[in-house]
């Protein structure tokens, strides 16, 4: 267990340092979701009172699409110079690598959300009518839901012929329940109509189920040959 955390932290620290120096993933994610914000603003009146009902969906669609940008880069770096092969023959636990990658992506996507949420508030003139603090568990659980499966499926899609194309095709269908839960709970909290409790519990269940499944099956994917 101890060695697992050592490996996790070492890999995580390496990924954060790489990202800090290049800022590739963050810059492209932020710019991408900014584009989504601007393009969506033409499809409806962004300042109308009814747009409150749409923005919950819009925010998460923007984050989902932007997250794919970062998720696709997760493993690509490790393919160069056969790092992944080296990892396979090393005695380090596979799940340590997976956790480090998932936590790294979680951190990057959370930073993206922290940067973009104020912009959404300004551009779409939002005020939260429901209990605003509940947006924090929704955001954290929702981000983890996207990132844990995204990291896992990125490790699958990197093995296929059409690497970058494959990830959203695998990730989006499986993510539908999580996306419904994120969008619905955000809309409920923005409009103040009803309680978001069911959706938060659903997100939590989704996270628990797929974190367990990912940790249980990642080694098979890593060793698949």
């Amino acid at each position: 267990m101890n060695s697992m955390w050592t490996v996790t932290l070492a890999t995580l620290r390496k990924d954060i340092r790489l990202e800090w120096r290049s800022k590739d993933a963050l810059n492209s994610m932020i710019f991408f979701s900014l584009l989504v914000v601007v393009i969506f603003s033409f499809s409806f009146d962004p300042l109308a009172e009814e747009s409150r009902h749409i923005v919950g969906g819009l925010v998460w669609v923007a984050f989902l699409f932007a997250a794919v940008v970062a998720l696709n880069q997760t493993w690509a770096r490790e393919l160069r110079n056969q790092v992944l092969d080296a990892y396979r023959v090393s005695p380090a636990p596979a799940n340590a690598l997976f956790l480090a990658k998932a936590l790294g992506n979680f951190l990057f996507v959370t930073i993206l959300e922290a940067v973009m949420t104020p912009l959404f508030v300004i551009f779409y003139n939002l005020h939260v009518l429901g209990p605003a603090w509940q947006l924090i568990p929704v955001a954290l659980l929702g981000t983890w839901a996207l990132v844990v499966n995204g990291t896992f499926f990125a490790s699958i899609s990197i093995r296929t012929r059409s690497r970058e194309l494959m990830l959203p095709l695998l990730l989006f269908p499986i993510s539908i329940p999580a996306v419904v839960a994120m969008v619905e709970s955000t809309t409920i909290l923005l409009t103040g109509e009803g309680s978001a409790r069911f959706w938060i519990v659903l997100l939590l269940t989704y996270d628990v189920v797929f974190t367990t499944a990912s940790l249980g099956l990642f080694e098979m994917v890593l060793q698949a040959e």
Binding site: T160, I174, A213, V221
Partner: protein
Amino acid sequence: MKKAFPFLAVITALLVGYGFYLGLFVAPTERTMGDVQRIFYFHAPSGWTAFWLFFANLAASVVYLVKRNLKADALAVAAAEVGVVFCTVVLVTGPLWARPVWGIWWTWDMRLTSTLVLWLIYVSYLLLRRFSEGTQTPILAAVLAIFGALDVPLVYFSIWFFRTQHPQPVIGGNGSLDPAMRPAFWMNVLAFSLLGALLCWGRYRVELMRRQVDEFEANASLTGQSPSLVAKPVYREVAR
């Protein structure tokens, strides 16, 4: 075992024909919907067949991951492909029935939406199989099949709650089936299940043959022989 295949094919053809006859001619015409209700005898049995084929896909995938038996993997491919076909039949016959009865082709009702999401999940499974290559395909696909199966209850709950919050006017409870309609319905459930099993079996055998051919061709190219010379007897042997 292989001799049972034409036998099963004949039985299936007879049952599908008989189910067709019962559904179109014997079962009484529904009072409010009229003849269009008869689509139900093909729609619902296709749904059942799709569901058990997806279940077979999950079971075969788990067996593959545990035992690394390539026959289980071939069965998983066959079940997923045939399951997607039947699921497509469900998604096509549904709107054909809905248009005259509800007045709209599609509604984002719970059952419709979850069937569509199920279809999407298994299409992505088939896409993964198509786009990955080599010996890793079965492992990656089996892992995805498990993820997809875990997702099904979550899809169902999320859409169920989503739709109970936003009630849709069109769909009422189906109520119970008139006793006079039951023979046609159950005959078609049986016929379609057999048809699903038959297609799945056929696809499974084709998949095994394809793999053997690939293997022989690979061996032939290693030994420098012309693949057609080596592979030809094999086709005959497997197909027998």
